[in-house]
């Protein structure tokens, strides 16, 4: 198991290194110039060529690309320094530390709800296959995996925010500051974000459980007179859960991607919204940092899924 974990860890580090290369060089090699963007935003009449060069020098953009890359990674690894925003001169890590907990708060509730609702829904569908519950849940989960979450957000804002006036339509409040207001503000965005994981996990659990329920050891469990509850929880679900772990792990990138759209719809000041605004203004340091953090979260979650998979299924460890 240790060799398996070390092998996966090395792979994850290689992928992370490649991601840093991709993020950095994509920012530099593709069209768009942050200095011109800065100049146009400050709305000063005219910048001389020398002033432009001085600005370029100040942000290190006049250095060769590989030097810029080494400096960026070096600062990141040694000092945890993600650079400074070109447009508002705030330290990137400072802003990210403010916004990451917001995205994490939103995403973690959506993820946990996905598991808490999706797994039991899938189990019920599998053990009551062909009944009305199965039909209703399967239909809802088919709709749930395809509904555009940003459109769902707009529908909810119309219905519960504007028409009925039950919930606030935008913003974010820390639960430590005002728990009730925070919960009210999170209901709609969390619903939009969690609808995909709930539906995906319910579908996967159903098909995985149906597969397991056909196995001989389940027939043996029935034959020896175990109660339904024990057959399901002790024999079927434990084996059926293995593919669900992969799906849950794969849900992390979709939650992060979803946060980009949902935070924009509900004006939540998280990482996703920052990604969109900094991309619009071509503020390289922000875009680099956000992308790197989001991909690092995905890589770590994939690593944990692989390790969990290897732990649960020895065949994976030795393949």
């Amino acid at each position: 198991m240790t060799a398996f974990i070390i092998r996966r860890l090395i792979q994850a580090l290689v992928v992370l290194f490649l991601v840093t290369l991709m993020v950095f060089f994509a920012m530099r090699l593709l069209p768009g110039d942050p200095i011109r963007m800065l100049v146009s935003q400050t709305q000063e009449e005219e910048f001389t060529r020398e002033q432009l060069e001085a600005l370029r020098h100040k942000y290190g953009l006049d250095q060769p690309l590989y030097i810029q890359y080494i400096q960026w990674v070096g600062n990141l690894v040694i000092h945890g320094d993600l650079g400074e925003s070109i447009l508002n001169h705030i330290a990137v890590e400072e802003e990210i530390l403010k916004r990451l907990p917001i995205t994490f708060h939103l995403g973690s509730i959506a993820f946990i709800l996905g598991l808490l609702i999706g797994i039991p829904a899938g189990v019920v569908c599998a053990i009551r296959r062909g009944t009305w519950i199965d039909t209703v849940v399967t239909t809802l989960s088919n709709i749930g995996i395809t509904v555009p979450n940003f459109w769902l957000g707009v529908l909810l804002i119309y219905l519960f925010g504007l028409y009925l006036g039950w919930l606030p339509v935008m913003g974010y409040t820390s639960p430590f500051q005002d728990f009730w207001q925070s919960t009210r503000q999170l209901i709609m965005p969390v619903f939009c974000l969690t609808i995909f994981p709930i539906s995906g996990i319910a579908r996967q659990t159903r098909s995985s459980m149906l597969e397991v329920m056909r196995q001989d050891y389940i027939r043996t469990a029935w034959a020896k007179g175990l109660r339904e509850r024990l057959v399901i929880s002790r024999h079927a679900l434990r084996n059926g859960l293995i593919p669900i772990i992969t799906l849950a792990g794969m849900g992390i990138p979709s939650l992060l991607g979803g946060s980009v759209l949902i935070e924009t719809v509900f004006s939540i000041p998280g990482m996703g919204r920052l990604a969109v605004s900094s991309l619009m203004s071509q503020d390289y340091p922000y875009v680099q940092a956000i992308t790197l953090i989001m991909t690092a979260i995905v890589i770590i979650s994939n690593l944990l899924v692989d390790i969990a998979y290897g732990w649960l299924d020895p065949r994976v460890r030795y393949s």
Binding site: V15, N142, T146, P148, P253, G257, M280, V298
Partner: protein, 298 residues
């Protein structure tokens, strides 16, 4: 001799051979939701192809004397903030969405299966280099990767297509690579090699055909994802030019008028959901009909 014939007849009578096509048709059309999906896709394809003939108005024509008009006999879905007919824009939006979906998936599929084939077939360093790059690309949340590429390239049809194709390509590469690694161990590949078929011949004539079923399923499902991702980009304002009718752009434009004219956002969103739902359901049906073992993996 006659005994052998009788035995053969008996076997035929006991287990009549069902043709693959018949079996496919029976499984594929057995679920109502799959048929519903097919009908919806066909409906939107017709609308997209014949949009200029079907749309009652020019979707680009501004009419400032007729802004934010409620649905009536002349404008079934009303008009938007600059007086353009909403129904006509939804109809032309179908054209934009399906066209982008098809082009994006074609490019992503072509590049993805080529890379996956090379990685899976040659193995070794080719595998390591290609698949680590694919792993790196797959660690970006899909919409974020598309957003970064589209924003940096500067929006527009061509750039949106590139952005979405790059974001969807890794899925095909990984799937194809896994398929090739399994299929290339079969005896018929060894047989082909032993009669002197070269690497390219094996890849194109034998591996490609035998790896197709999951790829076909993925193409169908990814069409929905590509359409959804394009709508997401347009919704964020980083997609196509603002005047081009796109469902995502229309949903965003209608957000400011939700109380007075909710249909501006509802109508394109409903069309978007129906199309994505249909492609997913047809993908599900194809998966069950082509190879039920794929259930849970695709």
């Amino acid at each position: 001799m006659s005994g052998e014939v009788t035995l053969a007849q008996e076997i035929t009578e006991v287990a009549p051979r069902v043709s693959e096509l018949k079996r496919f048709r029976r499984v594929f059309f057995s679920r109502g939701v799959v048929v519903f999906g097919m009908v919806i896709i066909f409906f939107f394809l017709v609308i997209a192809i014949f949009a200029p003939q079907i749309a009652p108005y020019d979707p680009y024509k501004l009419d400032l004397t007729n802004i934010l008009r409620n649905p009536d006999a002349q404008h079934w879905l009303g008009t938007d903030t600059v007086g353009r007919d909403t129904l006509s824009r939804v109809i032309f939006g179908a054209r934009t969405s399906l066209m982008i979906g098809l082009i994006v998936v074609s490019f992503a599929c072509l590049v993805g299966i080529s890379l996956g084939m090379l990685a899976g077939f040659f193995g070794g360093w080719t595998y390591t280099i290609i698949m680590r790059i694919i792993d790196a690309l797959m660690s970006f949340p899909m919409i974020l990767l598309a957003l970064i590429i589209a924003a940096l390239l500067g929006g527009g049809l061509k750039n949106v297509i590139i952005a979405l194709a790059v974001s969807l390509m890794p899925g095909y590469a990984r799937l194809m690579c896994g398929q090739v690694i399994t299929v290339k161990e079969n005896d018929y590949i060894l047989a082909a090699r032993s009669i002197g078929v070269g690497n390219w011949g094996i890849m194109i004539r034998h591996l490609m055909l035998n790896c197709l079923p999951p790829i076909i399923v993925m193409v169908t499902m990814m069409l929905g994802q590509a359409i959804l991702a394009e709508a997401g980009l347009s919704f964020l304002g980083i997609g196509l030019e603002a005047q081009i009718p796109t469902w995502g752009g229309m949903i965003n434009d209608g957000r400011d008028y939700l109380l007075s004219d909710p249909i501006l956002s509802f109508a394109p969103g409903l069309a978007l959901m129906l199309v994505v739902f249909s492609f997913n359901m047809v993908g599900d049906g194809l998966r069950d009909a082509l190879d039920p073992r794929l259930r849970g993996t695709l």
